[in-house]
């Protein structure tokens, strides 16, 4: 399972976080990492297909949930697992994100190790599912 190249799209408007994600996922998780800081970039990067999406909850005035809907509707990522990064989990935020189809929600600050193991789990689950199909 999960041998071939695995592609992740990281979307965050904070460039330092994006750079951290890029290097950590590339070197620590063997992911092929694509990065986007704006919704337009995200849609363009997702157009050719990705295996997983890491998405910031709020992007400089943009709601990450709305972007998720756009991604699902306009790119071949309808069934791609999405991991949300969020600054806080107030009120029913977690339920809301899960209802929108988030495979996991991680709060910022996140631990690189935690993120990597979560992505690995999602990748393994996905690969397993494809094996059955």
């Amino acid at each position: 399972m999960g041998t071939g190249s695995r592609r992740v799209l990281a979307i965050d408007d904070d460039r330092s976080i994006l750079e951290l994600l890029r290097i950590a996922l590339q070197q620590g998780g063997n992911w092929i990492v694509r990065c986007a800081t704006t919704p337009a970039e995200a849609l363009a990067e997702a157009a050719s297909g990705v295996d997983l999406i890491v998405l910031d909850r709020w992007l400089d005035g943009w709601d990450g949930l709305a972007l998720l809907h756009e991604l699902r509707a306009h790119t071949p990522s309808a069934s791609v697992p999405v991991v949300f990064l969020t600054g806080e989990l107030r009120d029913d935020e977690l339920q809301k994100l899960q209802a929108a189809g988030a495979a996991a929600v991680l709060t910022k600050p996140f631990r690189i190790a935690g993120l990597l193991s979560r992505l690995d789990e999602l990748w393994a689950a996905r690969a397993g599912r494809e094996d059955i199909e």
């Binding site: 976080i17 750079e19 951290l20 989990l89 991680l106 910022k108 996140f110 190790a113 979560r118």
Partner: protein, 677 residues
Amino acid sequence: MSTKEAGNGSILLAGDDLEFPVTMTSLLESCGVPARVALAREEASAILEREKIAVIVVSSRLTDGDGLGWIEALRGRGLATPIVFVSGDWMEPEQFKRVTQELKVTLVVHVPINATVLAQTLARMVGVSESKVQNLDTPELNQLQSSYGASLPEKVRTLAQALHRVRRQPDDSGAFVEARLLAHRLKGSAGSFGFDMVGDAAARLEEALDQVELKGPSRAEAWSRIASVLTELVRAADRAAGEAAQHESLVPGARVLVVDDDVAFLDAVAHVARRSVLGILTARDQDEALRLAQRTVIDAALLDLHLERGSGEELARRLRALPGYENLPMAFISGDTSLPSRIAAAHAGGSLFLCKPVEADVLTAAIHDLLALGRAARPHVLILDDDAVFAEELSQILQRNGMQVSTCRDCGSVLEVLSEIRPDVLLMDMVMPHVSGLDVCRMLRTTLRWHDLPILVLTGQTGVEGRVAAFESGADDYLAKPVVEAELLARIRVRLERAKLLRERSEKDPLTGLLQRRAFSEGFAARLQESRRTHSPMSMCMLDLDHFKQINDRFGHLAGDRVLAGLGKLLGRRMRGEDLRGRWGGEEFVLALPGQTSETAWAIVERLLAELQTMNFVGDRGELFGASFSAGISTWPDDGDSFEALLHAADARLYQAKDAGRGRVVGVMPPLQAVGA
């Protein structure tokens, strides 16, 4: 089960609150720790029997009884797992003592809880966060973390300015949104980069800002809270930057590429690397090595001379041909220590030659030597300031950004220090005791040697008069205090860039790309001094293209220029970073080879000759022709103790070579055909 081993264990959250475990589970996942949830004691006990639990978090109440009672029962059964107790009420000292001592509760937290902090504490107890993060200890990640840490004070300053604006203009909602966004981002990013203190402080600042937004009577209180949290944040950011700088000095971001098909040797290198915290990249063949060199920046390379596929020499050539690696410091390793091997290594640009098997300390020393060679190529900044603390601060910023820094506190000795270290830029304070910085500036401008040294003046006076005075006394630029890091770097870089261009223009011969006469002489003097100090030999070579006048006459002047440029390129590409190559004039060239005896220098130049003879040049009418040179070699100390004496000896041998029929190299010994053959 020991707690150490529980690195992979889960955290059990036991309590009757429905909300708390949901948030905590997600937070713990962020930290890489799995969590289990139980509402009742019975359910929790079942999980404890079934699974490996590293820490138990117990609330005051569970659905089927109170938390403390359950802890008592667990300890009664002899369970030693660490327990964190979440207390609903403030615990009195007596009770606290009982809980921690008798029930051996590791930690007591009171509601309301800061969930983020608790999650991180738990992750630390399990030992996950630290150890796992270190598994990702790649040079790039370290560097990224360090540079992020270094940028924290600046980020906090920007945040402080934004807060200031909010305070002054309470009705400016834009300013408020900006300040809150900055705090929010800092909270999210600082912790993710491992700077928890900064992240925590930023989180508290964000909370306090929300209080301000509520207006009303609590506002003033919120502002005083913001002020105190901000002070804390500034301190934490400074500390983080200090840590980052320290980390960087341990791992100077230096990366050494080691290429060998001998796996045992690579293992030994990796071992040394672990002890010396250097970034070592290993490759087993040419392609892998070239890929690595293109993907990341490499500061030095250690190559096996005899790779199974393709030679180390060839790899060295291909590495040096990559953009940015023209002067890559290199060492060769070989089991074959014969003279031809050593000559091949020097010819290919190896500054050092190591014999296998290589002892660990020899290897470490070699790597450090190589990196020192690379450092010598980094820009050197001299800071002249009597304020040691400030100078140190500047010095750290510049060092973090890849510059070499020296400091001088006494204006009186500035000329000596300048001659000794020959900096690329001088950064000086305008106001110093006893003497004005402007006078030092003026004095330097009247000294021919420092006529074009870039000088940046630091000044507290930003008024027009101060700036004009600085420029009038010969400063190239000025910087206002307090110094903003980004501005300092930008201004210094611009000066360095300009100076480099000017220097290349004045020092390098445009046709051959080699040093001009004056620059060569200066460089030679420095290397000769070094040889005297270390008592190691140094050779000099004068070489002259054969029949150059005839080439010009027969094939045209452009063809002649192509030969000059071709030889210039050959000399520039072969040989080592510390060797000097110059165009002495016309078709005459001169080389300095530190560390080479007359024997090895002879063989190296002989190989250059052989390589030139294989090259084809094109005449103005398309005809192909070849070229050769004659050369004479002299060596310190045998042939003299001064530049002039060595030049004279080399020149005399060059004439011997011409007389003997050209196309040959003459050294101190009779021509050594036997070795070259």
